[in-house]
Amino acid sequence: MFGYIRPEKPELKIKEYDEFRAFYCGICKSIAKNSGQIARLTLSYDATFLALLFSSVSNTAPEKRVERCVVHPVQKRNIYKNDKAIDYAADVNIILMYHSLLDKWKDEKLVLSIAGTAALSRKYNKLTKKYPFLCDIIEKKLKKLSKLEEEKCSSVDQAAEPFAQMMAEIMEFCPVIEDEKTKKVLRWLGYNIGKWVYIIDAFDDIEKDLIDKSYNPLLYQYEYHSEKVCEFKNRIRNDVEFILIYSLNEIGKAYELLEVKRNKDLIENIVFMGMLRQTEIILSGEKRAKVKQSRTVN
């Protein structure tokens, strides 16, 4: 995925930071175990958030272990292991990454992406057997999305719909949650997360899409006419901000209805602070490089 869903680090307590890292390492190890070493490189913060959320609303707490790993060979670290919620988030990460690489290959013909697709395809086939229903839905939604892109859809809401629905399905489908009420809340939470991620990514990619001449719903809804990029961004900023913050507010309200059993402060840090911070960073157009710098959790 994209890595926009992350904690606001300055506001984290050390123990919360350690928890987050234990989830990050846990999901990384789960990917390595189930899908191989190369697949490890695809891990994103978004998947870590999913693991954290699923695990915290499920009834059983994950098991914590102290281990070394290839990436951090010297110091041992806390790692969550053998947890269904974490494994599910790891699988979702692989499924989405496989599709995203496939999409990149179709659009940009990057050699690296086809190499990645080749490396993941066997794992992906395995996962289609494990989650036939979910994989089918994801494929359908992504097909719908690329169709809207081909048609140059000029409504942001409409363009974001397949992605938002896909996230809703992913949330609802989580195998550790059986309670219908929780599923309903998670569905709405997922819908709004998908919407937020899709639109923040669209705003972030405006420059790149103009250079590559690729589709971007914002360029079509707000009819870009060869003006300066920063002028265009200034023109649409308020509208985009409205949708993003409105989605965040809905995420917050759905969250308040969840029965979260563990890690409340950490999740609230992400939902109420981290995501708002990301919104502000992307909207203000602060250097993307800065975001990339703090990408690894070290």
Partner: protein, 202 residues
């Protein structure tokens, strides 16, 4: 029926909390799950359930502490009803929306050619419930500009705008504060310096 939960737990309190603490927790919770917060939200039924649970817990705890003096929280009646002159199709569409059948409501609306302010308003509500915030805002703005004096349309528009404020406030309430930048600090220093000079000091 579910098993009744520990009322202290429902209000997020430790067992044996004082009356003051109970009242404060109750007030905060009611604010959080108030129907206003969840108006036009697909989860409003769950929020209502939660609120009922909170009310019950509060009632149990307060009765235990002292008899009498309890004023129950009355859920606002959110039946706003249609404007009196609205035509049949529109009020039927409104009914569908209230029942949560968005598809039927949309079909009705799309098939009418007569499109007064209420049409745009209802269309906006459908978008809002579906999560299409941008389209919803545009439709409701249209409704308000067509009938600027309609209280219902204006209220929905205001609520949409203020809900983004709510999120920011809850974020700032959690300690998410921007530090003053250098410019502000300099300005403050400069102002203090000027004031000092005025008073003939340093």
């Amino acid at each position: 029926m579910e098993v009744l939960r520990n009322p202290y737990e429902v209000l997020g309190l430790q067992e044996g909390a004082t009356e003051e603490e109970i009242k404060k927790a109750y007030r905060d919770m009611v604010k959080k799950y108030h129907p206003d917060q969840y108006a036009n939200n697909p989860l409003s039924d769950l929020a209502g359930e939660k609120l009922r649970e909170i009310n019950e817990a509060y009632e149990i705890l307060i009765k235990k502490k002292s008899t009498g003096g309890f004023r129950g929280y009355h859920k606002d009646n959110y039946n706003r009803g249609g404007t009196s002159e609205s035509n049949g199709t529109l009020s039927q569409a409104r009914n569908y929306i209230n029942l949560g059948d968005l598809r039927a409501a949309e079909e009705l609306l799309n098939n009418t050619t007569n499109r007064p302010a209420e049409w745009h308003y209802l269309k906006g509500l459908i978008f809002l419930k579906r999560g299409w915030y941008n389209e919803a805002l545009m439709q409701i703005q249209t409704a308000v500009s067509m009938e600027p004096h309609n209280y219902e349309y204006r209220q929905t528009l205001n609520r949409m705008n203020s809900s983004t404020q709510n999120y920011r406030q809850s974020s700032y309430g959690r300690g998410y504060m921007r530090e003053p930048d250098l410019c502000t600090i300099c300005q403050c220093l400069w102002c203090t310096d000027c004031l000092c000079n005025c008073l003939g000091g340093c």
